[in-house]
Symmetry: C2
Subunit: 429 residues, 2 copies
Amino acid sequence: MDAHAPADMSVVIGPSPADMLRDQTARARLAARALAIAPEAVRNQALNAAAAALRADQDAILAANARDLDAYTGSGAFRDRLMLNPVRIEAMAAGLEAITRLPDPLGRIEREWDRPNGLRLRRVAVPVGVIGMIYESRPNVGADAAGLCIKSGNAVILRGGSESVHSARAIQSAIAEGLATAGLPQDCVQNAPTADRAFVGAMLQAAGEIDLIIPRGGKSLVERVLREARVPVLAHAEGLCHTYIHASADPAMARRVLADAKMRRTGICGATETLLIDAEIAPALLPVLVEDLRALGCDFVADARSRAIVPDLAPASDADFATEWLDAKLSIAVVDGVDAALVHIARFGSLHTEAIVAEDAQAAETFINGCGSAVVMWNASTQFCDGGEFGFGAEIGIATGKLHARGPVGLEQLTTYRYEVRGTGQVRG
Amino acid sequence: MDAHAPADMSVVIGPSPADMLRDQTARARLAARALAIAPEAVRNQALNAAAAALRADQDAILAANARDLDAYTGSGAFRDRLMLNPVRIEAMAAGLEAITRLPDPLGRIEREWDRPNGLRLRRVAVPVGVIGMIYESRPNVGADAAGLCIKSGNAVILRGGSESVHSARAIQSAIAEGLATAGLPQDCVQNAPTADRAFVGAMLQAAGEIDLIIPRGGKSLVERVLREARVPVLAHAEGLCHTYIHASADPAMARRVLADAKMRRTGICGATETLLIDAEIAPALLPVLVEDLRALGCDFVADARSRAIVPDLAPASDADFATEWLDAKLSIAVVDGVDAALVHIARFGSLHTEAIVAEDAQAAETFINGCGSAVVMWNASTQFCDGGEFGFGAEIGIATGKLHARGPVGLEQLTTYRYEVRGTGQVRG
């Protein structure tokens, strides 16, 4: 596509977004077949060469980014997320190199067994195929996603925010250079050819052409994807995480863990949004917890039982308990034991990450087993829900669905499997 | 629901199908929480008691089945599938008992690792939650599905064909008796409360209420489910399986394997629909293969290269190569080696099961690695794609999607996992 084409493609006579996507996915499918059988060394070579190209193209990438910034009318945090600089470009390059050092997720024999009739069965990790990545503003997300897809043998179609279209194109061009250096098809990583929002709609409908959609962005983007997609999606619409302080909790640990879970970073999906605290320990501990968090700049809404203990807390409605604050704000409820905490979480939670702080191991096991969430922490901060912290090396997202992948989505979760059956002429008869 | 209610509920003033489903799924969710933490012995007790109840209720089940048969206007194979008799009831009961002998799919620690900060992580198998099973005519499918769901800790809503509504109700009643005997909620296994087809539509839309839909039935049912569902689906719309005979094949093995793959049972999804044969070996072998299969009653359509060798074969169109015959009929094409076979399969296949017959191990590995299907056989019949033959003990279906489960869907595939993180007060900092 011509870099000088108008941003609004709807006035241009030409192929529809669905036609353009069909062309891209056909090329992606062919590229994916080549990538899937490429040895790990070749995939790593592509990543290293792409990293080198990002560094070599620094000026071109910054110029492209300047065009995006010039056209951008927003400000503040959004503008900062769109902005690239030499440090951020170096971080993208180093990120690709770091992915080369992760173990190969492909070809791993997940299981191997024999049948009495002599058939030998294997379950082997293979790529998913063609992935559609839909993300907002931060251009580096495209480079990270491309790196994880290349390593895991998947072709990817990147659809970044329309405000970052020139930056995304410059980054994709460097990655294409890396793929070519390794003798891999450049179609392994393609950018959306148009900023037309209808292209996203076409991606969501492309069952059989795209195997998996991964959205990264705000709640409204993810909810649209989950609502409209006819293609499987790995995503989290929200992380309404709870920290539950059991009556047996060590008070010092509870203070330390809650402060981190709520305030380390308030804008990430693993941040705690609601404190549940046992009635038995609340009169002594809740005032201290509130004081700790207030000193860190936190705001509160609380149920009547909490306000009976700390009267100056604002009242919390059911809607508050259903809100992911993503901010220095905490909902608080006093509960009567593990079962009551689980009932609250079942009602308001998002199946992302919950934590219990408890010295009583029996209570902790009951909590862990009764909680339907993807990740359950015992005596640790909910903010540990992260691919890096899990030891996955890198993550492309977090999944709160129940099928295929839950929690951090790393290289392994970007693979599926095939059964290989080796016989000597067996028939079922 | 009153057993004497009219089959067409649309004229009755009352709750809508979506309302009825919401009531059922809310009860299923509560029941699933109890079932998920029930020890294996209790789940097995429910299955054994349900088997006993099926036997004890034999007369009532046969009477209910007679009502369905009386009202049924179809004939032949469809009527036979709807029919129950003492042998079939005993088979259902024995099937539930067999499930008790399968290993517990829950609580298995799939992986366990430590992090440098002392966090201990585990990935543990847990139930999916609430499953919606949509199936046609054969009433025993409901009993099998209920058994697998109980063992794997999932609640299930069974929606059988409208023609089997009385049979389904009698079977569900026996299973409910088994659940009650074991002290488990009867809501673990519920029947659709109405034969209204809109109830199926409500199930397909019930994202967040139903966690997984499994359809079992004809292609049009499965395609409707795949097209309309807003809930994850495990299914195969078709099994367009290929057997590829490489130039290095042992001719005797090729004859034995192909005859089984095509003709053992022609109506199952793992039956071979297309023969691909290398040009090098075709002149000598194809006439023999055709003669073998013709003696078993098989019909053929074939490409021009095949017809140059066996002139009396009917010509095959592209549409024929895209057709799952489910019958004593075989499409044939002559190809030039592994890559050409893979190109044909990529164009016409359904990602279900393919087989290569070859003595050349290098050719077989190339085929296995280049084939995107869920199951790839080397020197074995495609009809081995089956949960029992894989050693899974029982299957609820076959999945041809790429995510979560591929191939036979047994107990393990009815589970997902959660991450459990055990700390000693770690904060991310």
